[in-house]
């Protein structure tokens, strides 16, 4: 079959931590240098595999939070209490350390500017990671797709990428950023308070008649509530893509 692409083997690669930045007290952004990386699309993820000296292995998936950039793979990791891998990445990983990764994988949860919009991004907690890759891609390519970004966090200090998002929305036309804080709000807070519910979505998400492409990512309960409500508000299910984190056992 002339011209057909051969399946690409997915191999484990050795990546080196080039930079570790603190986003919040429980969240780090790790920049990985990965020789052999073939590039990725916004929204895709990697699998990370850790092996202890006694042979014990653990493997988890992490969304890539920045768009394609040579051999650099950026992930944003939230500490999960009792987790298999996040405690190592948050507490033990040092610049220069090497870890095994494979990817990019997950072509289902991808948005590229060529797909158009309007684009609706809704993230709970560290669920904003793949959404940030999409938003950063939109900005970097100079795309004019209108974007609404809604994130939910417990408190002001738990907001991830807050300053960059402020700078993006003030610098770009047609990018609106909205945060809701569910447990506590600082004085003079001008964002939303409380959980994302039907009222919040009805008021702040692109209306269904605009036929937005919706990407929802975060803990399972959050995604379930948001996705179900979007459908109830008239959005077409096939224009809603979800990425549930699932229970952290």
């Amino acid at each position: 079959m002339a011209g057909a692409a051969l399946p690409r083997r997915l191999n484990w690669l050795i990546a080196k931590a080039a930079d570790i930045a603190e986003e919040t007290d429980r969240v780090r952004t790790v920049v990985l240098d990965c020789p052999g990386w073939t590039g990725h699309l916004p929204g895709q993820h990697i699998d990370i595999r850790l092996t202890a000296e006694d042979g014990y292995q653990a493997q988890r998936s992490y969304s890539i939070s920045a768009p394609d950039d040579g051999e650099q793979v950026v992930i944003t990791v939230e500490l999960v209490d009792g987790g298999e891998i996040s405690p190592f990445l948050i507490e033990d990983l040092r610049v220069g350390d090497q870890i095994e990764i494979r990817g990019p994988i997950g072509g289902y949860f991808v948005w590229e500017p060529s797909r158009g919009g309007p684009l609706q991004l809704i993230g709970g907690g560290s669920g904003v990671a793949p959404l940030m890759a999409m938003l950063r891609a939109r900005v970097r390519t100079g795309s004019d797709v209108p974007v609404r970004y809604l994130s939910s966090a417990r408190s002001f200090d738990d907001l991830i990428y807050r300053e960059e998002l402020e700078s993006i929305s003030s610098g770009a036309e047609d990018v609106e950023v909205l945060h809701t804080l569910t447990r506590s709000q600082p004085p003079n807070w001008r964002g939303l308070a409380g959980r994302v519910d039907r009222v919040v979505l009805a008021r702040n998400v692109w209306p269904a008649f605009t036929r937005p492409l919706c990407y929802v990512c975060g803990p399972t309960g959050f995604v379930e509530t948001v996705a179900t409500t979007l459908v109830a508000l008239g959005h077409q299910p096939r224009r809603i893509k979800t990425e549930r984190f699932g229970p952290s056992n």
Binding site: A52, A58, F88, L93, D97, N249
Partner: protein, 202 residues
Amino acid sequence: MSFITRGFRGRRELDVPPDRVPPGQYVTSDFPVLSAGPTPRIPLEQWRFTITDPLRSERSWNWDEFMALPIETVTVDIHCVTKWSKLDTSWEGVSLDTLLADFPDHASGHGLFQSYGGYTTNLPIEDITGGKAWIAFKYDGQPLDPEHGGPARLLVPHLYFWKSAKWVKGVTLSDSDRPGFWESYGYHNYGDPWREQRYQGD
């Protein structure tokens, strides 16, 4: 040989006597919830437990009838095939010896347990009699949470915990052995944690 990750130590092991821990297991203080499908929600007034024998005769209990049976409190260790073990777990339930008392002819046969939601698991009758198995409806003194199999689940602690079917609704007795859900997809037909019988062919 896999790439070893500097500084990664795997699970922090709890300090426990090794003779309580089957090979390949680690002890946890959590109680992980693992399900093959959605959690069924069964109102107690609709709950039944039914034993069906090979001739298709049935014996059924509703919740009130079930609560009127002799109830035992047991403290047991449980071992999940996904490698976690939990020691000294406390349950209240009705012994399968009580329930199977009217079915003495099938002591050498097999039981296929069925659950609300469609889950199944198979066991030899001799592994659920003689004080080895219960239909448990309380865990740690509290009514069993739906996530953990409530209103009632099978409890067979001497085998891997996938045999302790959540949301149990009955058992079909038979001379022949039919594999249940995990058994038919690749897990071991019997599942003895002390012989590490995890997978088909072990």
